[in-house]
């Protein structure tokens, strides 16, 4: 049994933690969210310089051959700092798809762009009517000579506004919810026929709706086998879940610490409110929820770093369930214990609460993964 990080991992974690403390204060983040671009390209460049984009990706993509444990360490720090940059989309998700589905040229060329941080990729997998099911693909891919013509819409593509390219799932054959018949295409942002509707999300991120109308992509932009992408998408989802669970753990860690600190300093009836048993128990429940979430996030990362696909899927479904439940307990109690102050936009705690709340609907919510888990044996 070994739950310890390597010295390199600890160094990376501490370096990132310092960078965020220095250059990514709550006020900095607030400004970035409200700015025209809605993110921090300067910090993105610093993350790249630190090697964060390389950390979890293999050598043939220009990476450092790390794994989901490295991703977990990074995402947890991002959670603590409420980081809004699209690392999850570009490095974890697109990185996973290219690593598993890409050919050698794609791995080298696209991988270089990701690991250097010079380009941003976003997965465009989900559709409005499919809700959380990535096999629900109504977007069509029709063969047209050596090209493909893509038609359809993609929903809530996080990181869309700052992405240079999208990895779009589209169907060449089969019925709308079939797992077979799905292919992946690399679509550049400026491609004719692709329009986007960009927006800020309630938790300060950037996302887009994608509309594809006769978007012509060459055969060279197909990622992996035509019609055989679903397994890659599933694997991407599991890695994304492990990563987002780590982000949630970071968020919960800070939310708990801030709540305890507030309760110790806020006085009512002449005493700190932390002396009231009802609030003590609420904070104990928050701690238990955090510890459970930590355990499950760790399990998900360990299974993602391993090579047993079944164990990985089961661990990730379970982790997403637990994280959703813990996030609700911690988020709601954090606001309740902060009282009116917790309701304000001015305090960081409400922003931790908002991000924690919204994570549930990314990559499938509690109900979805509970059902998925139950169907796995």
């Amino acid at each position: 049994m070994d739950f310890d990080f390597t010295d390199e991992q600890k160094m990376m974690r501490d370096g990132l933690s310092r960078l965020i403390a220095q250059k990514y204060t709550f006020e900095d983040r607030h400004k970035a969210v409200a700015s025209k671009t809605g993110w921090r390209p300067d910090l993105w460049a610093e993350f790249a310089e630190m090697g964060l984009m390389m950390a979890p990706l293999p050598e043939e993509m220009g990476g450092l051959s790390g794994d989901a444990i490295d991703a977990m360490i990074i995402m947890e720090e991002f959670g603590k700092g409420l980081v809004i940059e699209p690392y999850l989309q570009s490095v974890i998700c697109a990185g996973s798809l290219i690593r598993n589905a890409g050919n050698d040229t794609q791995k080298a060329e696209l991988g270089e762009k990701i690991t250097s941080g010079e380009a941003i990729f976003a997965p465009a997998i989900y559709e409005a009517e499919g809700r959380f099911n990535p096999a629900f693909v109504a977007t069509s891919a029709k063969k047209n000579g050596s090209d493909y013509l893509l038609n359809g819409n993609k929903a809530v593509v996080f990181g869309g506004p700052m992405s240079d390219s999208f990895i779009v799932s589209a169907r060449a054959s089969g019925a709308t919810s079939d797992e077979t018949g799905i292919s992946l295409f690399v679509v550049n942002k400026d491609q004719t026929g692709l329009t986007t509707q960009n927006y800020t999300t309630v938790d300060g991120l950037q996302a887009s709706e994608l509309f594809l109308e006769d978007v012509a992509v060459s055969g060279a932009s197909v990622l992996g086998e035509v019609g055989g992408a679903f397994a890659h998408i599933e694997q991407m989802r599991d890695h994304a879940i492990a990563a987002i669970c780590a982000e949630a753990v970071g968020l919960m860690t800070v939310a708990n610490a801030q709540t305890i600190e507030y309760a110790k300093t806020r006085k009512q009836f002449g005493v700190p409110i932390s002396s009231f048993q009802v609030l003590q128990h609420a904070m104990v429940n928050m701690l238990i929820a955090l510890e459970e979430a930590k355990s499950m996030a760790l399990l998900a990362a360990i299974e993602c770093a391993g090579d047993d696909a079944k164990a990985r899927a089961k661990a990730c479904a379970a982790a997403k369930v637990k994280i959703g439940q813990s996030a609700r307990i911690i988020g709601q109690n954090a606001i309740q214990i902060h009282g009116g102050m917790g309701m304000t936009n001015e305090l960081a705690i409400s922003h931790y609460f908002k991000r924690l709340t919204m994570i549930d609907a990314q990559f499938g919510n509690v109900d979805y993964h509970m059902r998925r888990y139950g169907e796995m044996d």
Binding site: A155, V156, S177, V202, G340
Partner: protein, 396 residues
């Protein structure tokens, strides 16, 4: 024992329904209660009801109430919620007015009640302070007597819609050398008085609903004190009990649940309506059962009230369960819209985006969920309500 309406009550319901249909302002149809409404939006409907004599269902007839019994009041509330009207705000009608007609002088009654009834003056509540939230009696805003005036200094907070207020009712400290509860007075303050400053507080949903109210050497005529000096806590407690009943929002929650069910039938999840999803259906049923239990409990409280037993500590039960149900409705709304909870309509509207993203019902789902976290905090937090029940009902 019966829960059905008599023919008279059904006729009453039809009369209310027809009146709303014919008189509710066209421009406010479908607005619901969570968009950014202007002062005029709120007051226009209040004035229409006021002219009809229906803006103050709970008031005694002598002050302008319609003389309805509990069932009629219940029916009236149901019909307003059913039509999704803009609410008549409680600060004047249900909060300060009962204090004025119970504890006020004849002059105060004559001066203030008609304007509240007609919707001519907007009231706000100056209770909480930065240092006095759950511990309301710990308030420190000071009023010092100077001839026929009080000079008031201090700061109030979480003052809902004070940006529109003409008048405010304030709890102020008039004596510091006694038990905190025994040195508080209840003052009516003209919000246009020199020294009153309202500063916005933006809540996490991006709304400007609450404010800080700063009072600097504000001159308040002694004639605007309600009840005796240092006896304001009596008024404060009386008012809070009234506030708590209204806070349950049963009729509005029923409407919310109805909309939620509609959304669930319209939201397609993996090709099927979400309403067919067993897990989601289970949660809807659970919510509906809890709401039904709350509704009947509220009716029992109303029936007691009709027999002259004023709202007591039981109103704390209504506050706790009513607030939690409001929160759960928005929680399920957010769950129902799934990924489409994410887009922030305030942000894309501010940038001039004149579009809605996602299915109908989605745009406000997350913001409403964030906003109603307040219901278990305000009006006496749910922890405080449990303390009240433990002490006054269980005698612990």
């Amino acid at each position: 024992m019966k829960l059905t309406f008599t023919p008279e009550e059904i006729a009453f319901r039809d009369e209310i329904r027809a009146f709303i249909e014919q008189n509710y302002p066209q421009n406010l149809k479908g607005v619901g209660d969570r968009e950014d409404l202007t002062k005029e939006d709120y007051l226009s409907w209040h004035r229409i009801l006021g002219a009809k004599g229906w803006s103050t269902p709970a008031w005694p007839v002598e002050y302008g109430g319609p003389g309805w019994h509990a069932t009629q009041k219940y029916i009236f509330g149901e019909e307003l919620a059913r039509a999704e009207t803009v609410p008549v705000l409680p600060f004047g009608v249900n909060m300060v007015a009962p204090v004025i007609y119970t504890f006020g002088t004849p002059e105060q009654k004559a001066r203030f009640l008609p304007a509240i009834q007609k919707g001519e003056e907007w009231w706000c509540q100056g209770y909480s302070e930065p240092g006095a939230g759950s511990d309301l009696a710990g308030l420190s805003t000071k009023a010092v007597r100077d001839g026929d005036f009080y000079i008031v200094n201090g700061q109030k907070t979480w003052t809902t819609l004070a940006q529109h207020a003409d008048w405010g009712f304030f709890l102020v400290r008039t004596n510091s050398d006694c038990k905190p509860q025994e040195g508080i007075s209840f003052l009516l303050i003209d919000m246009k008085s020199p020294g009153v400053e309202v500063r916005p507080i933006i809540t996490m949903d991006g709304a400007h609903e609450v404010n800080e109210v700063w009072l600097t050497d504000v001159k308040v005529p002694v004639a605007n004190r309600v009840f005796e000096e240092n006896k304001g806590w009596t008024c404060a407690k009386f008012l809070l009990a009234h506030e708590r009943t209204g806070i349950a929002q049963v009729a509005r929650s029923k409407m919310g649940l109805k909309k939620l069910k509609k959304l669930a039938t319209e939201t397609i999840s993996e090709g099927l309506p979400l309403a067919k999803d067993r897990d989601f259906k289970h949660k809807l049923s659970e919510l509906e059962i809890d709401l039904r239990a709350l509704e009947i409990t509220e009716l029992r409280v109303l029936a007691n009230e009709q027999k002259g037993k004023g709202p007591g500590a039981e109103s704390s039960i209504l506050k706790i369960n009513g607030s939690v149900i409001q929160q759960r409705i928005t929680e399920l709304f957010l769950e129902a819209v799934g990924p489409y909870g994410a887009p922030n309509p305030r942000a894309y509207k501010a940038e001039g985006g004149n579009f809605a993203i996602g299915p109908q019902g989605a745009p406000m789902a997350a913001l409403n969920y964030f906003n109603v976290r307040k219901t278990s905090i305000f009006g006496g937090s749910n922890e405080i309500q449990r303390n009240i029940i433990a002490k006054l009902v269980l005698g612990l």
